[in-house]
């Protein structure tokens, strides 16, 4: 990774959670055991769509070792969950709408007994027609999946007059793109332990991306006050957006309350596939036209998203896709319309990229197809249409000034110059190279509650305690917190106690999603550091009887400006004789656009991707041999973490492009485990992945480092797709690109005579 050191990255550090991870000593929440603990298991629907006629739990209840069986009758409060709209039943009463719907759950003395008990629960169904595509769900006589119909959400954006725009075009490309249902495939499947406490309280030891939100949702379901629910939500073995919504928590909680014993649920992979949310499959039709100067002047977009049976974050994902449908390009006339449709397929929801990955594939596909039509270099064509530093955002709203789009394009252009001359290796192999770029909004967007906050204090042990309501699911938030706080306060890592992921100990910081963590940690520390330092120095000055202006915070304690080798007072000594607590709190909102544009973002990051593929014409196998990204997201905080996010996001999208599809047929999963749902292995990735960080921000940009959790995953698919085209002249418009279609395409064409346009 090429990059100059900044104040955060000049010191090499290993992650605070690293040693426990490489030794296996770290206890994940699914590793926990408690005394008298029971094992829970959930009964899911046998049909994608059916009325429930009866649920008989008698045999299961009588099985020795079974301590509780629950159905809808046992839900103490609201029988529903969902981050925005609680329309997913915790336990279905009269109807099931997808194969992941829960009908009953058991708690038993061993996992084996729970497994047997589940098989003894008899549910009688009356199957209903399966709406296994948005098209079917939109038919006029389709059965209604929810009271208000089969449309979850519609979103649109209009600018100029797109029809008039097309009239002036000299060339138009119209294409429909299909993107698959991608599974997060976090290695740790959903699970944890829920422990009943005194006075009807519970402790929930289950991974999530927003502890306070789980607390709110569980309070509603269990009908107990939020204060009685403690959520411990870290560490987590991967999430990528997939564990933000509730999963097993309601079942383990109800079982724990009913049995007054701790209950553990750890889903098997198959259970995880069937019940877990996925990335929205979308059908995206784009019609894009250019004038005689090569300027894109009209862009029409229609998005149909398959949101599955329940809402979760479906509306926000569609809004994000609509917002990003023009990407980093400035287009005079735009008409974007999106609809998110309920079906009897698996529930779609939050996933790294949040709708951006889907539209980036389509948009960059349009750009490359237009460049080919115009016989223009795809980089020059992008240059002509790219947004500039002072341009407004994609919904016409004001955003933080940035030249990121141009910076990543020029960065990737120079990489492309160096690498595009790669030789064909052997007769039956073809190589090709492609590039793509994108811009991606961080935070939840205008009009959405997006609070953040943190707390700095000197705790009883003499540690500087920094607390956030964030979760560690692998992304490295702990390392980011350590680096920012040690650097901004001038203290050492040993002076710190980092507290996250436990609602009984941390202030609300909002969700650990939307690439917001790094950004919000930085903002919080900027807000707190001066006040906190003053408090510390004031207190030290009193104790030492030295004027404040001669004292400063440092590694291990308080130093004077005269004497540098040792602190005059350690933090431990300071806290011992301090009469009042030293605490600084902050709460604020993620920065949003000042314009009243619903969902509009303010801080955007940018990526440029270059992919090189080698295609085996005998097998149709596409191998990615180079995957390099240039990222503009402000200063790097943790070099290893940053690189890991971009590489990991890139490879996840390599899988999206070439391998991954959670395939469903008539509402049932065909791919139920990792033998048929394939994610990239080490054999499928380039041995060296390139990451270049552009760290400069616009002059006067006060918003600091941006999060990079998502950006590395967004523009990979179109770059690989263009590389495939560059190699064999085939335009894929459906992901994942299969070997069969490659063979078919290269067989139909005389590959060797293919004219490579616009390399």
């Amino acid at each position: 990774m090429s990059q100059q050191a900044n104040k955060y990255t000049r010191n090499h550090r290993v992650r605070p959670d690293g040693a426990a991870k490489v030794t296996g000593e770290l206890k994940y929440l699914t590793d926990l055991k408690r005394e008298h603990m029971l094992y829970g298991k959930i009964v899911r629907s046998a049909y994608p769509h059916a009325n429930i006629l009866s649920i008989n739990t008698k045999d299961a209840e009588q099985l020795p070792g079974v301590e509780a069986v629950i159905t809808y009758k046992d839900v103490p409060g609201l029988n529903g969950f969902g981050i925005v709209m609680p329309d997913q039943p915790v336990l279905c009463q009269d109807k099931v709408r997808y194969v992941g719907d829960a009908v009953a759950a058991v708690a038993a003395k061993s996992p084996e007994i729970a497994e047997r008990a589940v098989k003894l629960i008899r549910v009688e169904y009356d199957p209903l027609p399966t709406l296994d595509s948005p098209e079917k769900a939109l038919e006029v006589d389709a059965p209604l999946l929810h009271q208000k119909g089969n449309i979850l959400h519609q979103a649109s954006y209009q600018k100029g007059d797109v029809e008039k725009g097309f009239e002036k075009c000299i060339d138009i490309v119209e294409q429909t793109y299909h993107v698959p249902r991608q599974m997060h495939t976090y290695m740790e499947t959903e699970g944890g332990v829920i422990v009943p406490e005194a006075n009807g309280a519970i402790t929930v030891l289950v991974g999530t991306q927003h502890g306070y939100k789980d607390r709110f949702q569980l309070s509603r379901i269990l009908n107990i006050p939020e204060e009685k629910i403690r959520i411990v939500s870290s560490p987590i073995g991967g999430s990528f957006g997939g564990k933000d919504e509730l999963n097993i928590q309601p079942y383990a909680a109800i079982l724990a309350l009913k049995t007054a014993r701790p209950v553990k649920i750890h889903q098997t992979r198959k259970e995880s596939v069937i019940s877990g949310i996925k990335r929205h499959p979308m059908k995206i039709t784009m019609k894009t036209g250019v004038d005689e100067h090569g300027k894109i002047i009209a862009h029409q977009v229609k998005i149909i998203a398959d949101t599955g049976a329940y809402s979760t974050l479906g509306p926000a994902v569609l809004d994000f896709a609509v917002e990003h449908a023009t990407g980093p390009y400035v287009i005079e006339n735009v008409n974007t319309e999106g609809v998110s449709v309920f079906t009897n397929n698996g529930v779609s929801g939050e996933f790294r990229g949040f709708g951006g990955n889907q539209v980036a594939f389509a948009l960059e596909g349009q750009i490359d197809r237009l460049a080919e039509k115009l016989q223009m270099d795809p980089i020059d064509f992008r240059r002509m249409n790219l947004r500039k530093r002072d341009d407004v955002g994609p919904l016409g709203h004001r955003i933080a000034k940035t030249n990121g789009a141009s910076e990543v394009l020029e960065g990737i252009a120079s990489l492309y110059q160096d690498k595009k001359t790669n030789q064909e290796p052997e007769r039956w192999k073809k190589r090709g190279t492609g590039i793509a770029i994108t811009m991606h909004g961080g935070g939840l967007g205008y009009g959405r509650l997006d609070p953040a906050g943190g707390r700095l204090s000197l705790n009883e042990d003499g540690k500087i305690e920094i607390a956030f309501g964030f979760e560690e699911f692998g992304q490295g938030i702990l390392a980011v917190i350590e680096m920012i706080v040690t650097e901004e306060l001038g203290v050492s890592a040993d002076d710190l106690s980092i507290v996250i992921g436990d609602t009984s100990l941390v202030p609300p910081s909002g969700s650990t999603t939307a690439s917001r963590g790094t950004s919000m940690v930085w903002h919080a520390v900027q807000r707190m550091k001066t006040h906190f330092t003053e408090e510390i120095i004031q207190s030290a000055a009193k104790q030492l009887n030295i004027s404040q202006k001669h004292l400063r915070m440092g590694k291990g304690g308080i130093y004077s400006d005269q004497y540098h080798s040792k602190p005059l007072l350690t933090y431990k000594q300071l806290v011992k004789h301090t009469s009042s607590a030293i605490v600084t709190n902050t709460s604020f909102d993620f920065p949003t656009t000042p314009d009243e544009v619903d969902g509009g973002h303010f801080l955007y990051t940018f990526s440029g991707v270059m992919a090189q593929v080698e295609i085996d014409l005998l097998t149709g196998k596409v191998k990615v041999i180079d995957l390099d990204q240039v990222i503009a997201a402000g200063p790097v905080v943790n070099k290893i973490g940053y690189r890991g996010q971009i590489e990991g996001g890139g490879v996840m999208s390599l899988g999206y492009t070439l391998m991954e599809e959670a395939f469903m047929q008539e509402g049932k999963y065909i791919t139920e485990n990792l033998d048929s749902y394939l994610i990239p292995s080490i054999q499928d990735v380039p041995f060296a992945l390139g990451v270049e960080a552009i760290e400069s921000l616009d002059d006067g940009d006060v918003y600091g480092p941006r999060g990079v959790g998502e950006i590395g995953s967004v523009a990979v698919a179109p770059a690989i797709t263009k590389a495939v085209h560059n190699a064999i002249g085939y335009w894929a418009n459906k992901l994942p690109i299969s070997s069969e279609e490659i063979l078919n395409a290269s067989g139909k064409r005389s590959v060797t005579s293919w004219m490579k346009v616009g390399q």
Partner: protein, 174 residues
Amino acid sequence: MDESRTIDILTNKSTDRHILISFHMNGRMLELSVEPTMRLIDIIRGQLDLTGTKISCGIGRCGACSVMMDGHLVNACLVMAYQVDQSQITTIEGINTNNQLHTIQKAFLEEGGFQCGYCTPGMVMAVKALIYENSNPTEEEIKEALSGNLCRCTGYGGIIRSVQRAIKEGMNKN
């Protein structure tokens, strides 16, 4: 852990279906009374509470449960109790001596060979098995050896750099 102990597995089935197995776990002799088809992963995690070894796919596709059995890398979800009898099992808990990090573990720590860490114990075991057999593997040999261990976070970049570092630091002593 005792030098030798017998643990009765909690089950409501009659114990006459159980067999007695004895094996070495991380250098210590253990005796267990278990159902012959119990999975090694359930013995390790469930009975012995050695949770460093993880479970993810349960069908031998992801390598999260990789352990060494008689010097070979195996998926603990595919090995049954009767096969464990008279064997030597090493889990992640058994590879660092004297509380010192193993060279491979140090390399993972320094090079960012992990993020969420859930695949890491299995990955470290796979790297150990590789280097045990081949102290200076080629790129292809590294890929071959780790192809049964899936990581969803890193994209393998950090893992490859970790392996290269571990090799470079001349670790060849088991």
